[in-house]
């Protein structure tokens, strides 16, 4: 008899809740590492070409005890945060200004077209010439990598603010530029700006590694050293470290974003 289906199965669906939803992706992750381990153990590829995951905790522990891991993480995090804050801040500010002042956007439109396609990494030569092999150079490169994302996010978000709400600001005594900005434009544009910042969070990690490759202490530099010694297990340790750091920053940001946008249904 198949009439009505299986009531137990129907009931267990929603009851599983969080565990039920987390199980499939967790299984996928375990499968991924399992397959990797199997490939490495089968001896099909040399250990330096594909280090087995089971060897990674030991590699990480020795790196941690030597103090290298902590230094690299702190170094990269400080580059990441300073570049992110600087690049996002300036990008958002210019985007908001261009969104409010049409003349400014028109004047800058061709300059933007010239500069925008140049990737952050193409600035490495100038970063070194201007700032030397220093954290400032890394900050600069990361800043450029996130600047444009935030610029366009803010520009679009400010443009999209409903004229009706701006009229509300005028009708209730906030018609001057500062009042309009503070009471309506910025809060209304906040969701768009925050999604720009969030995209930048990922982009900035990419830039961190690339920018550190030329020798400024951090995860990227440490990876480069490890690779030159063919310590590929350490390279993988740092790759996973980056994934972890990105996961943490993105999760924290998402918490902040949800709080700031609690007014959205």
């Amino acid at each position: 008899m198949t009439v009505g289906g299986d009531p137990a199965a129907a009931a267990s669906g929603p009851a599983l809740g969080t565990v039920g939803r987390l199980l499939p992706p967790l299984g996928g992750l375990v499968g991924f590492f399992g397959l990797w381990e199997a490939l490495a153990r089968a001896g099909l590829v040399a250990e330096t070409l594909l280090p087995a995951p089971s060897g990674l905790p030991a590699a990480w522990l020795s790196e941690l005890r030597g103090g290298y891991w902590g230094d690299a993480v702190i170094g990269s995090l400080s580059h990441y945060l300073s570049g992110l804050v600087l690049g996002s801040g300036l990008g958002l500010a210019l985007g908001v200004a261009c969104g409010l002042i049409t003349g400014l956007e028109t004047t800058l439109s061709w300059v933007v077209r010239v500069l925008r396609p140049i990737p952050g990494l193409a600035w490495v030569p100038f970063a070194i010439i201007w700032f030397g092999i220093s954290p400032v150079a890394v900050t600069f490169i990361i800043g450029i990598a996130v600047f444009w994302i935030n610029y366009f996010a803010a520009l679009g978000a400010v443009r999209a603010v409903e004229r009706d709400l701006i009229e509300v600001a005028q009708a209730f005594g906030h018609g001057a530029l500062w009042g309009r900005l503070r009471k309506v434009v910025l809060p209304a544009a906040l969701p768009g700006m925050l999604s720009g910042v969030r995209t930048g969070l990922g982009q900035a990690w990419m830039a961190v590694v690339a920018a550190e490759l030329f020798g400024i202490p951090g995860i990227g530099a440490r990876m480069m050293q490890a690779a030159s010694l063919l310590a590929t297990d350490l390279v993988v340790v740092y790759m996973l470290t980056m994934a972890l750091l990105y996961g943490i920053t993105d999760t924290l940001f998402e918490l902040v974003r949800r709080r700031a946008l609690a007014w959205q249904p």
Partner: protein, 259 residues
């Protein structure tokens, strides 16, 4: 009675040069203290423009707008209610009502007190900490009304405030508005394209018609409280409807304004 606001020979045009379109011309209107005036007219005739000129949101091309109230740092001369409530979605209900008070010279506690009193007046004191998306359309419109009342205005301007609501909610909000008006004694200018609504609410109904538009008639309705179906109201509405039909160009005559 003293006039709270006077429009004197108002003309309003958009654009410049020979292609410029006049929306309003030779428009005179005096709003007497405590009076409830409704402006009716076809869609697009310039009712909302008239209201925006009064509110100071657009400057007239010619003529003079005079507001009687003395300037003050504790209140605003005009409170405006829009068709869509236009609440700021990132502010809770109470903070929305405080919007107009924020530029004034008021201590924070006084701001909150006045906003709370305005919410009380529209029956939403319990909703102060809700977000706008948690309210129904009618409740949002009441918050919009509270926001306008909170600034303690001499003149309350309403731009088709109930036009987007269902008939049942609209009727209950009309009665609510009358109750608030009777309790506060504000001067009200109410723009609508619904003639039945205008004659039910207003002491005086003025018709805006023509292109460019000017006043094409004025009717007074005295008795309160009113019965929506009373012969008196139906007669005034019919008179307005006839006048409206006469003042329309033949091509625009559609049976849109039936009661």
């Amino acid at each position: 009675m003293a006039a709270v606001a006077t429009l004197d020979g108002i003309a309003l045009g958009f654009g410049a040069g020979p292609g410029r379109a006049l929306v309003l011309e030779h428009l005179d209107l005096a709003l007497e203290a405590g009076q409830f005036v409704a402006v009716v007219g076809a869609s697009g005739v310039g009712k909302s423009s008239l209201l925006r000129v009064l509110a100071g949101l657009i400057g007239p091309t010619a003529g003079r707008v005079a507001l009687a109230g003395a300037p003050s740092r504790q209140r605003r001369p005009i409170g405006l209610v829009f068709q869509e409530a236009r609440l700021l979605p990132w502010r809770r209900v109470l903070a929305n009502v405080e919007l107009g008070l924020e530029g004034l010279a008021l201590p924070r506690a006084e701001r909150t007190r006045r906003a709370g009193a305005a919410l009380e007046l529209v029956g939403l004191a319990d909703y102060a900490e809700r977000w706008p998306y948690q309210l129904s359309g009618g409740q949002r419109q009441r918050v919009g009304l509270a926001r306008a009342l909170a600034v303690d205005p001499d003149l309350l301007l309403l731009d088709e405030p109930f036009g987007a609501l269902d008939a049942i909610t609209r009727a209950s909000l009309q009665d609510e508005l009358l109750r608030v008006w009777e309790r506060t004694g504000r001067t009200v200018l109410f723009v609508t394209h619904d003639i039945a609504e205008a004659v039910y609410l207003a002491d005086r109904v003025v018709l805006l018609a023509g292109r460019p538009a000017s006043l094409a008639g004025s009717w007074t309705v005295d008795r309160r409280p009113r019965d929506r179906g009373s012969i008196e109201l139906l007669e005034v509405a019919e008179a307005i409807r006839r006048q409206l039909a006469r003042s329309m160009p033949p091509t625009d005559r559609a049976p849109e304004y039936q009661i």
